[in-house]
């Protein structure tokens, strides 16, 4: 019944599953067998139905089939009400009961810790609000007076243990309940977090993928821009080199021009110097006196003309 394999699959020390599986399996089968034995009398009436059931499924292994009527199960001990679905074959089909119906949020309502609220509701129409209390008091007084229950030393012991239990429950009840709730909440929160993280990471992945797809559309523009870039670089380079060539050629031609100019100027100056030298050396003294006398007569004439103009 105990499977060590189950012990190894849990990475933490949660042995309760092993033990509870052990208890669970044992209880269901044992209680079912007990029920079958206990209600065999009642089931004889439904024997025909049972045989019909088994006959209609001849391929099912009869030793594994537990068909018990629902009514007989309901009264079967403290575990009966939960076993209504025992009328299916055990582990012979992959059928399951999922999704399970949701658990009720809170347990059944009780008054004073042990008496279910249903009792009070049952008695309310006939006896009103104080009905169950009167019933309780009456029962207690009846048992005391008829000495069905005798007050003895156990009563005192019962009183003291009762006080201890009630005090404990009242004082530590809410704390313990909150602790249990907190543990359950943490369990749910952990699973929820895993789910949320998975969802958000997947959403993020979707967005990233969409962005990548959008990027792919613009890829041709990117290539055009790159191509333009490269062309511009080539053009610029070409023009630079062209410029350089032009400048170099111009520099060489300028040099030649300057050289020619220099030659021209030198020749000119040389010629002028030579002509002047020759002219100056060719002026005789006779010519020089004549030219000076001519200059003096010219000056006298000019002076007379000016005087005459000034007097007029």
């Amino acid at each position: 019944m105990l499977s060590v394999g189950q012990l190894k699959t849990h990475h933490s020390f949660s042995v309760e599953f092993v033990i509870s599986r052990c208890f669970a399996g044992f209880s269901r089968e044992t209680s079912l067998r007990l029920c079958r034995r206990a209600r065999r009398g009642r089931n004889k009436k439904q024997g025909a139905r049972r045989s019909n059931n088994s006959a209609s499924q001849p391929s099912v292994m009869l030793s594994r089939l537990i068909v018990v009527s629902v009514n007989s199960l309901k009264g079967c001990g403290p575990i009966g009400a939960g076993l209504v679905h025992a009328s299916r074959s055990l582990h012979t089909s992959p059928q399951s009961l999922a999704p399970l119906p949701p658990l009720p949020e809170k347990g059944g309502k009780v008054r004073h810790g042990i008496f279910p609220e249903e009792l009070f509701q049952l008695l309310y129409p006939k006896t009103g609000v104080t009905g169950p209390y009167m019933l309780g008091t009456g029962l207690i007084l009846y048992m005391l007076s008829k000495e069905i229950y005798v007050i003895n030393h156990e009563t005192f012991a019962a009183a003291s243990i009762g006080t201890a239990i009630i005090y404990g429950v009242k004082k530590f009840g809410p704390t313990v309940a909150n602790l249990a709730d907190k543990i359950n909440e943490e369990k749910v929160a952990k699973a929820q977090e895993v789910k949320d993280v998975a969802i958000s990471s997947l959403t993020q992945a979707i967005d990233d993928e969409k962005k990548e797809q959008w990027r792919v559309e613009g890829r041709s523009m990117l290539f055009d821009a790159k191509r333009n870039n490269v062309a511009m670089l080539l053009e610029t380079n070409y023009r630079e080199r062209l410029h350089m060539v032009t400048n170099e050629v111009k520099r060489r031609l300028d040099y030649q021009i300057a050289l020619q100019n220099l030659h021209h100027r030198l020749e000119q100056e040389h010629m002028i110097n030579w002509v002047e030298k020759n002219v100056i050396s060719s002026i005789t003294p006779q010519q020089e006196k004549e030219s000076i006398a001519k200059c003096i007569t010219d000056l006298k004439v000019l002076a007379k003309a000016t005087q005459a103009r000034a007097a007029a």
Binding site: V15, N152, E154, V188
Partner: protein, 227 residues
């Protein structure tokens, strides 16, 4: 019903039918069963928390070979603690007050640990008979003493549990009887006795839990030595 002081320690019978089996099987019904659900109710959660904590407590110092005993010791603990606590209720029979039950738990489990030790690592198991650092002259005496102490272990385990619970229950009965008898005569003294009874009840609740824990703890220690 009139009760003598022996009634609570007698194995219960009804019309000659012994009910001891029922008394031993009753706690099983009271354990919370986790259903086929991922998240259970508060009781199952609390039980799971307790079982987890207990197993960790007991088996953390144990080497891996001893972990096979986890389910056994856990179920033993639950059984003993439930029997003890249920026995504190009035008019109940506590099976753990019977020496037969406690010896039936102690002897086989202790013997199992000894045999495991002797089979798997005999030198190491026998080495426990001599504590470290004993003076050489004392060695023979000490070995004899340690052997005696080894063989007295199951006796001690069984008798400890029996004696504690029987004594506690008897005390409760006696003091309750005293309070009951004094009540009509000297109520003030009866009230003092009742207060004493209440304190004793609190002590007994503690003792019930501690004795179960000690039983299982000692068994795990014996296992630790030998596994």
């Amino acid at each position: 019903m009139t009760l003598s002081l022996f009634d609570q320690f007698m194995s219960p019978t009804l019309l000659g039918v012994p009910l001891i089996g029922l008394a031993l099987a009753l706690p099983w019904v009271l354990f919370f069963q986790p259903g086929a659900r991922w998240m259970n109710n508060r009781l199952v959660t609390l039980q799971a928390v307790f079982m987890n904590w207990f197993v960790k407590q007991i088996f953390q110092p144990m080497s891996l070979g001893g972990h096979k005993w986890a389910a056994l010791l856990m179920s033993l603990m639950l059984f003993l603690i439930t029997l003890n606590m249920l026995g504190l209720l009035p008019y109940t029979f506590t099976p753990t007050t019977q020496l037969s039950l406690n010896m039936a738990f102690a002897v086989p489990l202790w013997l199992a640990t000894v045999i495991i030790g002797m089979r798997n690592q005999p030198t190491h198991a026998l080495g426990h008979l001599l504590p470290e650092g004993t003076p050489t002259a004392l060695i023979p005496v000490l070995i004899v003493i340690e052997t005696i102490s080894l063989f007295i272990r199951p006796l001690a385990l069984g008798v400890r549990l029996t004696a504690n619970l029987t004594a506690g229950h008897l005390l409760i009965q006696l003091i309750a009887t005293a309070a009951f008898v004094l009540f009509p005569m000297m109520p003030s003294v009866a009230i003092l006795t009742s207060i004493l009874l209440f304190l004793l009840t609190l002590l007994e609740i503690a003792v019930a839990m501690i004795q179960a824990y000690v039983f299982v703890l000692l068994l795990s220690l014996y296992l630790q030595e030998n596994v």
